[in-house]
């Protein structure tokens, strides 16, 4: 098992956002997390990436307790995140936004040239500011930035949000290239059909709890609807 959480709880001040989440992902696996707005998906990812404090022994990565570790240390261990809304650095050019991914100091198959091979359209945009390109192109930069950290686990939070269908298809078409390197992937996705198609297993969150989990292809639409909406 590459990453697991055991009865993970998370809080924003006094407000409890996660209630005992048990989650597992094996090396090379692709797992989706779905759920309505406010279900706790992004909070869960924040806890995994270190942006939200969690008890040390509730999150394990590669046999090591990482709960509550600083986000920068977790990134250096090999967990990269493509955050919701891309969050490129506007004062950095596209080239600089990509190269800042190498700051984690991890070596591996992903080089700037390889990332530009995956997203060739970025070659023409390298000198532009990070916020001066389209949403789809920004998402490519955000994914490329995460890949350049050569992560063992890549977490993508709502990568299709606000993008045109053709841009979403283009992004998901790059998945096989990432998986060919043995990468493990967690995808948070609002499009349930898409999530079922591209992942092996699926977790559905509802009000800070796991309401459903199983093999993506084996879960029925009605079961997902019940778990998603709670009705």
């Amino acid at each position: 098992m590459l990453l697991s959480t055991r009865h993970l709880e998370a809080f924003y001040g006094d407000f409890q956002a996660l209630f005992g989440i048990d989650f597992e992902i094996d090396p090379g696996e692709v797992v989706a997390i779905i759920g309505a707005n406010g279900a706790g998906k992004s909070t869960f990812l924040k806890a995994l990436s270190g942006l939200l404090k969690a008890p040390r022994d509730r999150i394990w990565f590669d046999g090591r307790a990482i709960g509550g570790m600083p986000a920068c240390e977790i990134a250096r261990l090999g967990i990269s995140m493509v955050p919701e809304g891309r969050r490129l650095f506007p004062s950095l050019s596209v080239r600089e936004n990509l190269s800042i991914g190498t700051h984690s100091g991890r070596r591996g198959p992903w080089t700037p040239e390889r990332v530009l091979g995956l997203f060739p359209v970025l070659r023409e945009l390298l000198s532009l500011p990070g916020n001066a390109i389209s949403g789809g192109q920004q998402q490519m930069v955000a994914i490329g930035r995460a890949l350049l950290a050569n992560p063992r686990l890549l977490i993508c939070d709502e990568i299709s949000l606000g993008l045109a269908p053709v841009a979403v298809k283009g992004l998901y078409d790059t998945l096989p290239a990432m998986l060919a390197e043995g990468m493990t992937l967690i995808i948070v996705e609002q499009d349930v059909g898409l999530a079922q198609r591209v992942t092996q297993r699926l977790y559905c969150f509802q009000e800070g709890r796991v309401s459903l989990q199983g093999r993506s292809g084996e879960l029925s639409r009605s079961a997902i609807s019940r778990a998603y909406f709670g009705v």
Binding site: A71, R87, L92
Partner: protein, 291 residues
């Protein structure tokens, strides 16, 4: 005023502005990277001046060793202060950094008073302070103000290079843009902030030594220099080193014009120039930061 008089006034104002630029660059850097308004900035300038005076008097060394000892010492002090104290105040609203840096300001002033008394002191540089270069037509500039101006120009160019062309500068800008996203890239923002303050303190050390060479300083002079630094940064526009440099020159020229008109009005005319810019361009002349 004759043309020669006006030219002389402009020249002296620009050279004084060079010293103000050295004062202000560190403040601009700390605000640009961390959105931290360091109330102790003026006292740090005075601390740099007194360290220079102490090293010169205590070790009996020349000007170059004074720079070589004081600048790294201030770099280290800035790193430790940010890592040990100021980092803990960030991300908790605007008040904690203001209050803590105000406390640091009071501490510096009182430690200096305890160690050096309230006497005014200056740094001797073997006659450098009084040497001048003749430009012809009755115009002359002091060698020390020229060197100070050159140091300010060099520091501005060096910081622009650091910010635009190096991985550390990239980390500075990224941390300034989005603190959470920068941590996701494996960058320790606490270390980045400590390095930013260290660099700012190193520049402030140069400013302090140049100040002590040019005039006398007392431990309680800090707030005045903080005010000049603020004015230069705000005239130039927050987050821009060249903006700060130009802002400092404008402040220096405005003061020189005021002094030329009436020796008692120089500082006031500088403040009026600052207020005028604030009225017309509230974000300064060359703003770079978005808030």
């Amino acid at each position: 005023m004759s043309l020669l008089g006006a030219l002389d006034m402009l020249l002296q104002g620009v050279l004084t502005g060079g010293l103000y630029a050295l004062f202000a660059i560190g403040l601009s850097l700390m605000f640009g990277v961390m959105r931290l308004v360091n109330i102790a900035h003026g006292d740090v300038i005075v601390l740099g001046a007194f360290l220079g005076i102490a090293v010169s008097a205590g070790a009996g060394v020349g000007l170059l060793p004074v720079f070589l000892l004081v600048v790294p010492a201030m770099f280290a002090l800035g790193y430790v202060l940010q890592r040990g104290v100021l980092n803990a105040t960030l991300g908790r609203g605007i008040l904690p950094p203001l209050l803590v840096s105000f406390g640091v300001s009071i501490m510096i002033e009182n430690i200096l008073l305890e160690l050096f008394s309230a006497d005014a002191r200056s740094l001797k540089a073997g006659g450098l302070e009084t040497q001048s270069i003749s430009l012809g037509a009755g115009l002359a500039v002091g060698l020390l103000p020229m060197l100070t101006f050159s140091a300010a120009l060099l520091c501005t160019v060096a910081l622009e290079y650091l910010f635009r062309r190096t991985p550390l500068g990239r980390a500075f800008r990224a941390a300034s843009d989005d603190l959470e996203a920068v941590q996701l890239q494996g960058i320790d923002h606490r270390k980045v902030f400590a390095l930013a303050t260290a660099v700012a303190f190193a520049v402030v050390a140069v400013a302090g030594i140049c100040l002590a060479l040019r005039t006398t300083v007392t431990p309680s002079d800090g707030p005045g220099y903080l005010l000049y630094s603020f004015e230069a940064v705000i005239i130039g526009g927050l987050g821009s080193f060249w903006g700060t440099f130009i802002g400092a020159l404008i402040l220096g020229v405005a003061q020189a014009a005021g002094f030329h008109w009436d020796p008692g009005w120089g500082v006031l005319v500088g403040h009026l120039a600052f207020l005028s810019v604030l009225l017309v361009r509230p974000r300064g002349l060359f703003p770079r930061t978005r808030d």
